[in-house]
Amino acid sequence: MLFLQLLVDGLQLGALYALMAVGFAIIFGSTRVFHYAHGTTYVIVGYVFFYLAERLALPWWLAAAIASAAAVVFGVALDRFVYRPIQRDEGSFFTVFVASFGIGVVAENLIIIFFGASFVSISTPLTRVSDIGGGIVVSYLGMFSVLVAVLLFTFLNWFLAKTDVGVALRALSENPELVRGFGLNPRKLSQYAFAIGSLLVAPAALVATCVTGLTPSAGHRVVLISIAASIIGGIGSLRGAGFGGLILGLAESLAVWKLSTGWSEAVSFIILLAFILARPSGLFGTRARV
């Protein structure tokens, strides 16, 4: 019984992780920017939502829309004003990573100054749980997060397969030179990647803020999970990143079955190390270049 409950919890957690990871995977896969500040985007969405919905008491949908818009603005601005100037002199992967990390540190501490370092949470009627039979409980928000994940994945698949921008983004991840050869502008495409990738982390941030609350330092964990999921799924594969997130969510939740809760975080990273050891190309990746 405990096992089933943990499985259900793990599915919900996995859906959230999948959403975080897919956003990171789009950005990293198509632009090769090691976007550590992806976690910062998550935290910004959470705090903007908290401020508008809880402090200013705006209707939740308006607060959520503004928070999501903030995510897009933040992501695109970072690409344009931080990553692009560095890449101008063919900045290495790590130079970009350090800058991204610096942004995360600055944002985290600005949030601490404005909101305090402690935990904030939002009370909503949706966090109430209901029994779905056999003593297994699910919250409405939990179901909602799974539903949102499925919908967004369907939409994303359509977007990447059918629209011009989607096809161009996939091309960019495979061969940036060829994209340039076809007269498309990789810079512009990278803006799209950042906009979409940042937008995708918003639903995860909104739901997770309501379910588990938020701290200014939550971003580290979010981006670590996203990176781990992207590698487990295979860099460059969005489907892989989604599955990776799901696996990590399930693993973390099921770990509680046998281990004390403090250890569950380490489980994700042990899985990650195992994948790097045994199958660095991940589940769906094809190109683990040396």
Binding site: N109, L110, I227, A266, I276
Partner: protein, 296 residues
Amino acid sequence: MVGYILNLLILVSISGILAGSLNFIIGYAGIYSMAHAAFFGVSAYTAALIAMNLSTSLLVAIPAAMAICAALSLVISLPSLRVRGEYFVVASLGLQQIAFTVFSEWKDVTGGLGGITGVPVATLFGYKLRSLGSMLTVSLVCLALVTLVIYVLVRTSFGRNLKAIRDNEVAASAFGKNATAIKTIAVAISSALCGIAGVLYAFHVSFVNPESFTVDASVLIMAMIIIGGTGTVFGPILGALIIHLLPAGLTYLTFLPARELASLQQIIYGAAMVLLMIYRPSGLIGRSNVKDTWTR
């Protein structure tokens, strides 16, 4: 006041060892590790446990901690150095998280979040290092030795191999260099040297707890190198000095709200990292020719 300055200088020397050992792989080998605080922590816990149960001699604790750190480094370098650079960063981030979990959850050994308190005073050749002055002397000697080891290493054929791999791994392999083996050894050396810092730290503050060994600490060590200058001998020491003097300096600016000082300090070094990456990726005393270290 003298005590305060001595204490600060000891911490600067310990950080100098941390930054110097990390710079050995970042600056000269192009291997970016985010797990340096994990090695720092493992060696500090090792020293604390040895001091409580076995011997307080630095000559026991330092070699033991170095050996354990070098062995632990294989956990990340063996799987991830075979594949490209990003994987090492990710694997080291993973190790850092696992290490923190172990420090805070393996309560029988590490004492959990409370840590290990009451680490006895260190001894060296039977002499107790009770005063700050003697501890500072030992720390400075260690810093000098570590710096010297790195200075010599990068000038040997091993060091030239490292730089060759950093600049062009394919070309180095084509010349018959076993890049994976060379990089693995470099990471082991770096981790072992880092172990010295952990031992000194455990004996100096006489307690260890997980909070000192978080991913933020790894970033702080990295910030020292980046601010000082990667791939330079004295850059990391300068960086360590700046990072430690910054909070001390900020307390003199009385118009700043005292409650926010810690955050302000973090904002300053975060912003410094971003601006340096945009305008001067080689650090304060690095060569202004960026292409040398950072772009390959």
